[in-house]
C-alpha cells in the first residue's frame, strides 16, 4: 500500500545498536519536527527554571540549595533544548506496509511499535496549537489493546491527512471487531 508518498525514502538511517536487529522504518518525520520539539522543550525547561527560581525567592532557609538547583536546571535545560530534538529527529521514523504500521520513537529510550492493519480500530490526526504553528500533525493509530497504540509525531499535516485516509480505507476492508 503505497498511497502515502515517501518524502525522504533514501535519507540516511541513523546507526542502530548492533544487537537489536530491527531495521529502521522507511520514512523520516518532517524536518520541522525539530523546531516543534525545540519549542516544546524550551517551554518545559523555562517552566522548571521559573518554578525553581520562584521557590528560591520565596523559601528563605533553603535559598543556597535552591539557587544551585536553578543553575543546574539552566544548564540541563539548555542541553535538553539543543540535544533532545536533534537526537529525536534521528530516531523517529515510520512506515506503513500492506499489512502493518511500523514506527520508531524516543530519544534516549528507543521504542519500536508494530500493529497489524487488520487489528487497527481508529486512526486520527491531531493538531495541537504548536503543531499548527509549524504546519505539522501527529497521527495516532489505536488497536483493541489498551497499550497497543502507535503514534507518529511531527508529520506534515497534508501527509498526515493522506495517511489517515489510506489507513482508514485499509482497515475498513477488514471484517470483525479487531480483537
Amino acid at each position: 500500500m503505497h498511497a502515502v508518498p515517501h518524502p525522504d525514502a533514501d535519507s540516511p538511517a541513523p546507526p542502530d545498536a548492533p544487537t537489536l536487529r530491527l531495521r529502521p522504518p522507511r520514512h523520516q518525520v518532517d524536518r520541522r519536527a525539530i523546531s516543534l520539539w525545540s519549542v516544546r522543550a524550551a517551554l518545559t525547561a523555562v517552566g522548571v527554571v521559573a518554578g525553581l527560581a520562584l521557590l528560591a525567592a520565596v523559601v528563605e532557609p533553603a535559598r543556597t540549595w535552591l539557587s544551585l538547583a536553578v543553575m543546574a536546571a539552566v544548564v540541563g535545560g539548555a542541553v535538553y533544548v539543543v540535544a533532545m530534538p536533534r537526537i529525536r529527529y534521528r530516531v523517529h521514523r515510520w512506515e506503513v506496509t500492506d499489512v502493518a504500521v511500523y514506527a520508531r520513537s524516543g530519544w534516549l529510550t528507543h521504542e519500536w511499535r508494530v500493529a497489524p492493519l487488520s487489528r487497527v480500530q481508529t486512526v486520527d490526526a491531531r493538531r495541537s496549537p504548536l503543531d499548527q504553528a509549524f504546519g505539522l500533525s501527529s497521527v495516532r493509530i489505536t488497536t483493541a489493546s489498551a497499550s497497543g497504540d502507535v503514534a507518529i509525531e511531527g508529520l506534515d499535516h497534508r501527509l498526515a491527512a493522506d495517511l489517515v485516509e489510506s489507513l482508514t480505507a485499509a482497515t475498513q476492508a477488514t471484517p470483525g471487531d479487531a480483537t
Binding site: 544487537t19 537489536l20 536487529r21 530491527l22 534516549l108 528507543h110 521504542e111 519500536w112 489493546s145 480483537t179
Partner: protein
C-alpha cells in the same frame, strides 16, 4: 409514559421490542434502605440531651446520606428502561437529561450477576454487561436490579447459546426476546472446579491478613477522634493502663502481636467464606465459563470462552513459599484485576497442582502451559541491571543519612540509623536476585509464556493468536548491555505482556516466531 425509541436495527417486518423497567421489587429494597437510614436518626434524637453533640451531628449526617441515597435510587429505578433487541442491548436513563446507551450484542463478552444480602432477600440481582472495549468500567451496562430468573435469561441470551443468525430463536418472530430455554436446566455443564475447604489456609497467606487489622484499628481510632472520643481518656477512665503497666514490655508486645494475628487470621477466614462459599467453576454448553460464589453477596460471572486469550498465574511470595497460587483468566471484557478477586479470578488461592489442573482444563489443554513450559532465563546482564538499581537505592539511603548528619548540627544521627544500611543493602540485593530469578519466557506450540515479578511472581500464558501487536523498547542502558524489553500487546487482560530485559536478539526471535508475518518483516540479520 412508555418511551418508544426507534428500533433502528430491526428490519421493518419485526415488531418493535418493548422497553422494560427494572424489577418493581427494587422499590421494596429502597424502602428497607430508607428505614435503615432512619435508625441513626432515631439514635441521634435519643442522644440529643446527652453530652455528645459531635456524635449526634455525625449520626444526623449518616441518616441524611442514607435517606438521600435511597431516594436517589428510587428515582433511578423509576427512570431506567432497558431492552434487548436482535442486535443490541439498550439502556436509557433519566428524564431531564436523558442518557441512551446501547451495546452491540456481538460485543458482549461478560455477563455478571451480583446480589448483595438485601437484593437476595427479595430475589434480585444486579446484572453487569461488559463489552470487549478497554476504555473502562464506565462503559459496562448495569441493570440494578432484575429478578435472578431474568438475570439467568439475560446471561443465556447474551452469551453463547447459538440461535438463529438474527440472534432470536426462529420460532419467536416479533415477540419479546424472552424465549430462551429455561436457565438452570443445564445438565450437560462440566464442573471444572468446586470449593474445597482445605484451600482456606492458602487465602490466609496474604499480606492483607496482617495489614487489614492494622488498617482497621487505625481507621476506628481516626473515626473516634473525629467525633471527639479520645483514646487516652478512655484508657485513663478504665483500669486498662494500670493493668498494662503490670505487664512486662515483652509480654505486652507479644499480646499485641498475637491479637493482631488472631484477628487477622479470623478476618481472612471469614473473607474466604464470604467470597468463595459455594464456589463452582463450570463450562456450560455454548462456550461459556461460569463462576458462582459468595455467601452473603452472591456472584455469578459468565465469560465468553471464545474470547479467552490465556491464563495468568500469580504467586505472591508468602503463598508461593507454601506451594500455592492464584489463577486469573486473560480475556477481553475483564481488565486488570485490582489485587484481590476480580471478575477474571477463576479460583481462590489453592495448591499449585490444583491451579495447574484447572488452568489446563480451562484452556482445553492436556497440561497447563504455565506449568510444563520450559522457561528460558534472561541473560546475566539483566541481573546486573537489577543489582545496579539496588546499589542506587542503598546509595540514596546513605546519602540521605549523610545529609541528615550534616543538616542537624550538633545532634548526630543515631548509630542505629547507620546500622540499618547493611540491612537495606541485604534487602535490596535479595530483591534484585529474586526479581532476576523470576524472569523467564518460553514459546509453546500455542502459547507465549512470560514470567516476572519479585514479590508477586506472575506467569502468563498468552495464546499466540491473541497477540495483536508488538512493542520493543530499549533504554540507553539496555542497549549497552544488549538487552531489550519486548512487549506483546493484546486486547485481553492487562493489554500488554512483557519479556523484560530479554537478550535483544533472542527477544526478537521469539516475537518473530510467535506471530509469523507481524514483526519478522522488520527484523534483519544485519
Amino acid at each position: 409514559m412508555t418511551p418508544t425509541g426507534a428500533a433502528t436495527d430491526a428490519p421493518p417486518t419485526t415488531v418493535e421490542v418493548p422497553w422494560q423497567r427494572l424489577d418493581a421489587r427494587m422499590i421494596a429494597v429502597d424502602g428497607v434502605r430508607l428505614a435503615g437510614a432512619l435508625v441513626p436518626l432515631a439514635i441521634a434524637v435519643l442522644l440529643r440531651n446527652a453530652d455528645a453533640t459531635a456524635v449526634v451531628s455525625t449520626l444526623r449526617t449518616l441518616a441524611f446520606i442514607g435517606v438521600a441515597s435511597a431516594l436517589h435510587d428510587l428515582w433511578r429505578w423509576s427512570t431506567t428502561w432497558y431492552r434487548v433487541t436482535e442486535a443490541r442491548v439498550e439502556v436509557r436513563t433519566g428524564v431531564v437529561s436523558r442518557r441512551h446507551r446501547s451495546m452491540p450484542r456481538d460485543r458482549v463478552r461478560r455477563v455478571d450477576a451480583t446480589a448483595k444480602l438485601l437484593h437476595r432477600a427479595f430475589g434480585l440481582a444486579v446484572v453487569t454487561i461488559a463489552s470487549g472495549e478497554q476504555s473502562g468500567a464506565t462503559d459496562d451496562l448495569k441493570l440494578d436490579a432484575v429478578t435472578t430468573g431474568r438475570a439467568g435469561e439475560l446471561r443465556h441470551l447474551l452469551l453463547g447459546t447459538p440461535v438463529a443468525p438474527g440472534g432470536l430463536p426462529a420460532d419467536a418472530p416479533g415477540r419479546s426476546t424472552w424465549v430462551e430455554p429455561a436457565p438452570g436446566a443445564a445438565e450437560d455443564e462440566t464442573v471444572l472446579a468446586s470449593l474445597r475447604w482445605g484451600w482456606a489456609p492458602y487465602s490466609v497467606l496474604s499480606v492483607w491478613t496482617l495489614l487489614l487489622p492494622a488498617v482497621a484499628v487505625t481507621a476506628v481510632l481516626q473515626a473516634l477522634s473525629a467525633i471527639g472520643v479520645s483514646v487516652e481518656e478512655v484508657a485513663e477512665d478504665d483500669r486498662i493502663v494500670d493493668r498494662a503497666r503490670e505487664l512486662s514490655p515483652a509480654v505486652a508486645v507479644a499480646l499485641v502481636v498475637v491479637t493482631i494475628v488472631v484477628v487477622g487470621v479470623a478476618g481472612a477466614l471469614l473473607r474466604f467464606v464470604e467470597t468463595w462459599w459455594g464456589y463452582r467453576l463450570v463450562r456450560e454448553p455454548g462456550g461459556r465459563l461460569r463462576i458462582r460464589r459468595g455467601l452473603l453477596t452472591s456472584r455469578s460471572i459468565s465469560l465468553d470462552e471464545s474470547r479467552l486469550r490465556g491464563v495468568e498465574l500469580t504467586e505472591p511470595v508468602l503463598l508461593r513459599t507454601a506451594g500455592g497460587a492464584r489463577l486469573h483468566a486473560v480475556t477481553t471484557g475483564v481488565g486488570e484485576g485490582a489485587g484481590g478477586e476480580s471478575a477474571g479470578t477463576l479460583l481462590p488461592a489453592a495448591p499449585i497442582g490444583e491451579v495447574d489442573r484447572v488452568a489446563a482444563a480451562v484452556l482445553h489443554e492436556q497440561r497447563a502451559p504455565t506449568d510444563h513450559a520450559d522457561l528460558r532465563p534472561h541473560p546475566p546482564a539483566a541481573l546486573r541491571r537489577r543489582l545496579s538499581r539496588a546499589a542506587l537505592v542503598v546509595g540514596a539511603v546513605a546519602l540521605g543519612l549523610v545529609a541528615a548528619e550534616v543538616g542537624t548540627t550538633g545532634r548526630s544521627v543515631t548509630p542505629g540509623a547507620w546500622a540499618s544500611i547493611p540491612l537495606v543493602a541485604a534487602g535490596a540485593i535479595a530483591y534484585a536476585r529474586a526479581s532476576y530469578r523470576s524472569l523467564g519466557h518460553a514459546l509453546e506450540r500455542r502459547y507465549l509464556v512470560v514470567r516476572r515479578g519479585a514479590l508477586v511472581r506472575r506467569t502468563v500464558a498468552l495464546r499466540r493468536t491473541g497477540i495483536i501487536g508488538w512493542t520493543v523498547r530499549s533504554t540507553l542502558f539496555q542497549r549497552r548491555l544488549g538487552l531489550a524489553t519486548v512487549v506483546a500487546t493484546t486486547a485481553a487482560g492487562r493489554g500488554a505482556y512483557a519479556l523484560v530485559d530479554v537478550d535483544a536478539r533472542e527477544g526478537l526471535q521469539v516475537a518473530g516466531d510467535a506471530v509469523p508475518g507481524l514483526l519478522d518483516p522488520f527484523i534483519t540479520d544485519a
